[in-house]
Subunit: 270 residues, 3 copies
Amino acid sequence: MANKDYAQALATLLEEVRATRPLVHQITNYVSVNDCANVVLAIGGAPVMADETEEVAEMVALASALVLNIGTLNRRIIDTMLLAGRRANELGKPIILDPVGAGATRLRTDTARLLQRELKLAVIRGNASEVSALVGEVGTTRGVDASGVEANVEGVARRLAATSGAVVAVTGAIDVIATEEQLLKVANGHPMLTRITGTGCMATALVGAFCGVTDDYALAAAAGLTCLGLAGERAAAVHGGTGSFRAALIDAISLLSAADISDGARVYAG
Amino acid sequence: MANKDYAQALATLLEEVRATRPLVHQITNYVSVNDCANVVLAIGGAPVMADETEEVAEMVALASALVLNIGTLNRRIIDTMLLAGRRANELGKPIILDPVGAGATRLRTDTARLLQRELKLAVIRGNASEVSALVGEVGTTRGVDASGVEANVEGVARRLAATSGAVVAVTGAIDVIATEEQLLKVANGHPMLTRITGTGCMATALVGAFCGVTDDYALAAAAGLTCLGLAGERAAAVHGGTGSFRAALIDAISLLSAADISDGARVYAG
Amino acid sequence: MANKDYAQALATLLEEVRATRPLVHQITNYVSVNDCANVVLAIGGAPVMADETEEVAEMVALASALVLNIGTLNRRIIDTMLLAGRRANELGKPIILDPVGAGATRLRTDTARLLQRELKLAVIRGNASEVSALVGEVGTTRGVDASGVEANVEGVARRLAATSGAVVAVTGAIDVIATEEQLLKVANGHPMLTRITGTGCMATALVGAFCGVTDDYALAAAAGLTCLGLAGERAAAVHGGTGSFRAALIDAISLLSAADISDGARVYAG
């Protein structure tokens, strides 16, 4: 596709989300959970959070996509994620994994790998360090921050895509989206997105909403990252501190139109 | 009462909340918990969250009302809710139940029914689907969203009020508040309230604050829903996206005066 | 130090935080956790939340400071806090304790005392009631609110500092910071800070960021409380309701400059 065609395809996906309102089941961390619910509503989807083993199989059956985010992990939640994920796979619902902090602790690295091994994932969305940890590279994850390894991002993303079969979306100054066959890049975004908590989680939640309306998960990943990036650019133009940036970011997502995307998306084949 | 008298009675209740600052103990979900704390502060009450079995009996003894919200349920929390609820009943403190997502999964439906059966509730606040699930109607809860069944709301609300002995407050385009004997309606509100997460939970938290200052729980329910509805109208007038709507909503609650309510409340006997 | 010298020392500490970006590991409550992450980012640090026993020892090794906040306690978290705290002590990393609601329930009082007894704490940051509960005074904690006992704040703070060896920072209209030898007071702040949830937790998180860059924990405590107080003054000047105050508060923290502190800090030896 030409770049203009990508932008048009993403714009069409946004209209699809607004028209069909996909339900996105999220098993996620308690730090950014409210923002993750609000961005799914803002883009036009419907969020539901449920993390008890007794109910997740039923809930995922109602949903169009399942987001697994390991930002505040505990033993109970790991079991729940596996259970929900297996049911999602049985039902053919897309699973989006956010391996928050993989590489920082053994529990996070092991859990991210476990989920990747046991489940068929549609998309893995992380930063360079987290994605590197999943392919066994010695990254330097510092808390939940990206660092080091950025140079080799494309190679790592391609490798993880090949071994996992998932679309691998690595966010950074330029976002990289890899499948076994193709590479997409998204150049939208703004440094202010690194100054509030949970923007990575929000990106993943948005990707979840788009995976709820298409089988082209690479395009869905591009749509989620483009929407967050574009909204970040607009929110940064408000010129306040980080508190009003957060509100402005969700404002911008809720106000994004298909035309905004076809005009503003900077997506190209890599 | 004439409609003007209701508005006046609600205005007086607001002054009561501001004067006495009731402590509202909430055992609630981790998605909207911060907003639920902030709306209780905004209306003039004091929030406290505590969900460990070892401490809830003591905490509820300090509180003026107990809110039970099943939005992100797990086994531990169900036990805690029963324990806190029984203690509240012993002490004569009002319990307000928010059966989030009842009808969507068996765990939620069963838990909502269990709490209703085992505890004497002051108010049940839900949407049409959730309340229908409590009376055994086959609703179509989609995640935590209202849908279907709206037409029959009054009948369902009356039936649940009769069987439970609680005031039943069903939020929707027009809110319905039912007891065995009376029916109240609240016409305040705005569609923007459906575009951010947790406004149902916030409504319930506000009802909790008002139940902390009066034994007339139908009036307390009307007060909570009127305040949220009025604040929603004002926040919508700000004309931003959903991120600034959320801040504007809490602003409006914190700035509501008794005169705003006596002038703006649209409450009438059904 | 003269007062002007304190202000200058705090300004220098802010520059240090911005330059070195200390990682602050927080085991905290789910009510204010998002704000606690965002204020650490706003001041220039990096937050990470992790509360599973299997990973906290590893995570605290990556961090520059550990914050323990008992706002929504459960058995699992108490074990985690002890484990993380012991590892922090072994590694010489500062621990900052926020005994939210100590005095309100036995579990909270006992847990705060347990943590204080078992761990070497750098700073204890609470309100007058909470700190009184730690020294065994019969305070009247009403939920998580300060009340009573304010008069004797300095005496209580000094006593707890002497028995615990920690810096004791008591927030109120005038904040009191006590060590065995010295007493500091911070007169920055605004009553609006009491009208949103979690400002106490945010103060503690900020103190955590400053403890990550200096061994002078009394100065770090003064820096955290001064920054929150100054930001509260600026946010209150925005003149909205409590929803926009919250965003304006985080804005103001993110926009604070070293010059703002050297000009605006009202810190003096007691």
